[in-house]
């Protein structure tokens, strides 16, 4: 089974999980790590390393969903992911949003975390869209 970790600047990750649970119910194997203004980067780095280390030891792969490409949470997650020797692979995705987090809940049993990351990016991209009225369909009933 995969583990999902949402890592963000400030309270976003925690709030995303709260919002996602309101819609989806429980999200098993999903955790959050937040970079707090007061705690600073050092504390965040330690917490993220702890959560990631725990996750790689108890998962077939770890998916880290970060808020911002090249932000600190993303950079530190990528650094961890690229460090050799973990017992399970780590894939990092930037640009997490609520639809993406909900979709990740369906993919925990997939075998390849990197494939899951690609799939999730493609699916989540489709959820960023303007409203279009539905095409008229025949009134068959």
């Amino acid at each position: 089974m995969l583990t999902v970790i949402v890592a963000t600047h400030g309270p976003l990750a925690k709030a995303l999980l709260t919002s996602a649970r309101m819609i989806w119910g429980d999200l098993p194997r999903t955790h959050c790590v937040t970079l707090e203004e007061h705690g600073g980067i050092t504390a965040f780095q330690q917490t993220l390393a702890d959560v990631l280390t725990e996750a790689v030891c108890h998962s077939s792969g770890v998916l880290v969903l970060c808020d911002l490409l090249s932000g600190t949470p993303c950079n530190l997650a990528c650094r961890f992911a690229m460090t050799p020797g973990h017992p399970a692979p780590v894939a990092v995705v930037a640009g997490v949003n609520l639809p993406m987090l909900l979709m990740s809940a369906e993919l925990l049993e997939e075998p390849d975390v990197h494939q899951v990351a690609r799939h999730l990016i493609a699916q989540a991209r489709d959820t960023i869209t303007g409203f279009r009225p539905a095409a008229p369909h025949p009134e068959i009933f």
């Binding site: 429980d26 409203f131 095409a135 009933f141």
Partner: protein, 167 residues
């Protein structure tokens, strides 16, 4: 049996949740039933637009009673979504057979309102809804509260213990 899934959801059409169920069960179209939404063409259009690749019909209860027999007689597989258990009770009382391939009536979100009792995450019932669930259960329908296919669930029998605590 042309109904593949029967659900109660107070959001009626709830994009990503409905499409999640449609991955689990065959779905050639969705018949959504609520007097209020069906009477509001703008809201109806917004809800239909939320699901682009599956046809959606929005009916009042009266329209549904007239049209569901044709839906059920069809060879295709349809989802029926009612806004509340009261909606489904009205259908059952009018003789509509709600048996479906999923073999249960599934219940999704039911928001907290004045006078409602919370029985699960994002699931609250009023007195009228309790009566409606009792009626549907007495008709022999299994009723499960489950937001999405992989989520945990409980039955109306489990929920009854919360709404009618034994003294």
């Amino acid at each position: 049996m042309a109904l593949s899934f029967v659900r109660i959801d107070d959001r009626v059409i709830h994009g990503q949740l409905v499409t999640r169920w449609a991955k689990e069960l065959p779905c050639d179209g969705i018949v959504a039933i609520d007097d209020e939404v069906a009477a509001d063409p703008l809201l109806a259009s917004v809800m239909k637009g939320a699901i682009q690749d599956i046809p959606v019909w929005l009916f009042t209860v009266a329209q549904a009673i007239e049209k569901l027999p044709k839906v059920i007689a069809s060879r295709k597989h349809y989802f029926v979504i009612g806004k509340s258990p009261v909606t489904l009770r009205q259908l059952a009382e009018a003789g509509i057979d709600l048996h479906n391939r999923y073999q249960r009536i599934n219940v999704g979100p039911m928001s907290a309102r004045a006078g409602s009792i919370t029985i699960g995450p994002n699931q609250s019932v009023t007195a009228a809804e309790r009566d409606a669930f009792d009626f549907l259960a007495a008709c022999g329908y299994a009723i499960e509260f489950r937001l999405v296919p992989d989520a945990g669930c409980f039955s109306w029998q489990d929920a009854q213990k919360k709404v009618k605590p034994s003294a």
